[in-house]
């Protein structure tokens, strides 16, 4: 789960990191008020869960409160990579001597949290990694010991030659590490970490991604979720224990298991179609899940055909068949339905479907081909 910049900064501040105290507002009037309160020049920053806000025009420097009003009215309501901006952060602008990057990720290969620090801050770290990798220093942390002071200081001296700045940066590393661990993050970064003319080391931007697996045991983190900033269908799916990701195609896919769901989408593409979504109904075969899955898929007007692909291992295919029948009875489909099921209780499932005027294939390849063909026909084209 992504946190907003203002949420990440609140957490960092709690762990001792110096970061300008801003204010989150939802109207241009409130933006002017906040800017007036801060006095000097301010930054107006869109709070959306996408990278590249600045490039998209979602971050603006303002010298006056009136300008903050004007910029906030432009940014609020603006769409950045498909997400509408409903909140902006007003923060006092800082004078900057230098900009650095400090981040921690859970590194899959090393199986440890790994620091990435670079004196080339303020820009996309992936770009730095690709073009000038020598400017990045990596440091893997043994979680049993944590980040030791000497390690933090080594990282500090990689950023700054001045001992006072290096020590200040080392302190920020320790604080960031503590925040990262306590917040159950998979990523935490400060970009940029700046030095002000007064010689202070300050976090001007913060980003945190919380591991979704922490949320069940951490109500305090779940409470930070901004439902408004997510796709409504995906929120709906999560509330019904389904994993759903909306895509742009016209073949709706309902599959059990993440790997098979991805493979099914890929096969739709292989036969010239485009998947409308990723949807994993999981290992359990509760018929209610199937009903909710169909409701989600049929709500998407782009969907021209619906494909079920169920491999019954733990999942009982007769439960899925019952779910399909129940769903269709209460809400008849307007688009063709292609069912592939095989495995546990396959014969019973086929019987249930047949009694209700439906049919199913046991072959994944055939079912996908048919779904692509029907979706293309309904869209007025032909499959490639």
């Amino acid at each position: 789960m992504n946190l907003h910049e203002y949420q990440a900064k609140d957490i960092l501040r709690r762990f001792g990191v110096t970061t300008p105290q801003g204010e989150v507002v939802t109207t241009p009037e409130a933006a002017r008020e906040a800017a007036t309160k801060f006095g000097g020049p301010v930054m107006v920053k869109a709070q959306v869960h996408v990278g590249g806000r600045g490039k998209a025009g979602g971050v603006k420097f303002c010298t006056t409160a009136d300008e903050a009003y004007e910029k906030a009215s432009n940014i609020l309501g603006m769409s950045i990579k498909g997400l509408t901006v409903t909140k902006v952060l007003i923060a006092p602008a800082a004078d900057i001597v230098s900009e650095a990057y400090v981040g921690i990720i859970v590194d899959r290969a090393r199986k440890k949290p790994v620091f990435m620090v670079s004196a080339a801050g303020g820009i996309d770290i992936e770009e730095v990694a690709a073009t000038t990798p020598e400017k990045i220093r990596y440091h893997a942390v043994d979680v049993r010991y944590g980040l030791m002071p000497f390690e933090a200081l080594e990282l500090g001296f990689f950023l700054y030659q001045d001992a006072k700045l290096a020590r200040a940066a080392a302190k920020v590393m320790q604080q960031l590490y503590a925040a990262f661990m306590a917040t159950g993050c998979s990523l935490a970064e400060i970009n940029p970490l700046v030095v002000t003319p007064a010689g202070d080391v300050v976090a001007l931007d913060g980003k945190m991604v919380v591991d979704d697996n922490e949320l069940e045991r951490r109500a305090d983190l779940e409470a930070l979720r901004d439902v408004e900033s997510e796709n409504p269908a995906e929120v709906d799916a999560r509330n019904h224990n389904l994993t759903f990701i909306k895509l742009d195609g016209n073949v709706g896919c309902i599959v059990n298991g993440a790997g098979l769901a991805m493979a099914t989408m890929d096969l739709v593409k292989y036969y010239g179609g485009e998947p409308a979504n990723f949807l994993d109904i999981g290992g359990s075969s509760n018929p209610e899940k199937v009903v909710n899955a169909l409701r989600l898929i049929t709500a998407d007007p782009n969907v021209k055909a619906i494909l079920f692909n169920i491999f019954g291992g733990i999942t009982r295919t007769d439960d899925v068949a019952n779910g399909i029948v129940t769903a269709i009875k209460s809400n008849p489909l307007k688009v063709p339905l292609i069912i592939r099921l095989t495995g546990t209780n396959e014969e019973i499932a086929m019987q249930i479907l047949k009694q209700n005027g439906l049919s199913a294939s046991s072959d994944m390849d055939e079912a996908v081909k048919e779904a692509v063909r029907l979706a293309a026909a309904a869209s007025g084209g032909t499959a490639a």
């Binding site: 298991g257 098979l260 546990t344």
Partner: protein
């Protein structure tokens, strides 16, 4: 022959009285797995299905039963501790089925099990099966049959799909190993490839990877540099959008890294046969098995 488990595997089940644990323990026993003990704290002294003794701790269970393998069906908040308890008890293989273990928990667990020389499979995995000998986990037994192919995969149902097609085509398996869909897991592709290369009964390997991370790319280099047996591979997630977690916690394209295209390319460069569709495994494997 097989890898990691065989007819001599003696299993202790952690969470044996839970909903999932009890269901799958029955399935494993039906398949022929030697389930020698169960663990549910507070239910020590009772027995499961009147035959399997239940203990309060894994350590007691292992001492009393001689178990050498543990399987874990406990809820995510307790799974990390359950893995470490198993690793400290004296078993040599720990299989964690539980999905949803926080990744920072896994950074501690990984260091703990490595230090003790214990093999961890998972978490968030379907376990493994050596057809005709033993199964540990949740892979449906009836889709497998003994034979010469080693199967290793990050996914559950996709593995079933491929194994089922192999079995339907008369191609059996030495072992099928699900390494799990999480970003940090105990056993990776290379560990399994190494075991299959050493196993004399395995003549070819089918591997199913997916987007996210670099495990498949490293495995491809391992195949090129260290292996003589033929390998056929598949990558799921060619149509996955970047930055989104595709069900599995580990199935995410970060920035421009971990895409299906880069993994397929490294397969091709390293001499791994690439299955474009799951159903392509049958022909590709057939062509690589020694003629009998």
């Amino acid at each position: 022959m097989s890898v990691f488990i065989d007819q001599d595997t003696k299993l202790v089940v952690q969470g044996i009285t839970g909903r999932d644990g009890s269901f799958h323990t029955k399935q494993m026993m039906q398949y022929g797995t030697q389930v020698v003990a169960g663990v549910t704290p507070g239910k020590g002294g009772q027995s499961f299905e009147d035959t399997v003794p239940i203990f309060n701790t894994v350590s007691e269970a292992v001492q009393a039963s001689g178990a050498n393998t543990a399987v874990i069906y406990v809820p995510p908040p307790y799974a990390a501790d359950a893995i470490m308890e198993a690793a400290a008890s004296g078993v040599s293989l720990v299989v964690c089925i539980t999905e949803g273990v926080p990744v920072l928990d896994m950074t501690r667990v990984y260091a703990f099990v490595k230090e003790r020389g214990v093999r961890l499979l998972g978490p968030n995995c379907p376990g493994l099966i050596s057809p005709g000998q033993s199964k540990v986990g949740i892979i449906p037994g009836r889709i497998c049959t003994p034979g010469p192919v080693g199967v290793v995969s990050r996914s559950g149902t996709l593995t079933y799909e491929v194994v089922y097609q192999l079995t339907s085509a008369g191609i059996g398996q030495t072992s099928c190993v699900g390494i799990g869909g999480d970003p940090i897991n105990g056993t990776n592709f290379i560990d399994c490839l190494e075991a299959f290369e050493r196993d004399p009964a395995t003549k070819a390997i089918a591997m199913m990877g997916e987007i996210g991370g670099t495990d498949e790319q490293e495995a491809a280099e391992y195949v090129r540099d260290k292996m003589k047996k033929p390998v056929v591979g598949f990558i799921a997630g060619q149509t996955a959008p970047p930055g989104r977690r595709m069900g599995h916690a580990g199935a995410i394209i970060s920035g421009s890294a971990g895409t299906a295209a880069e993994k397929i390319e490294s397969f091709e460069q390293c001499g791994i046969g690439v299955a474009k569709r799951p159903m392509d495994f049958v022909e590709l494997i057939k062509a690589r098995l020694p003629k009998t």
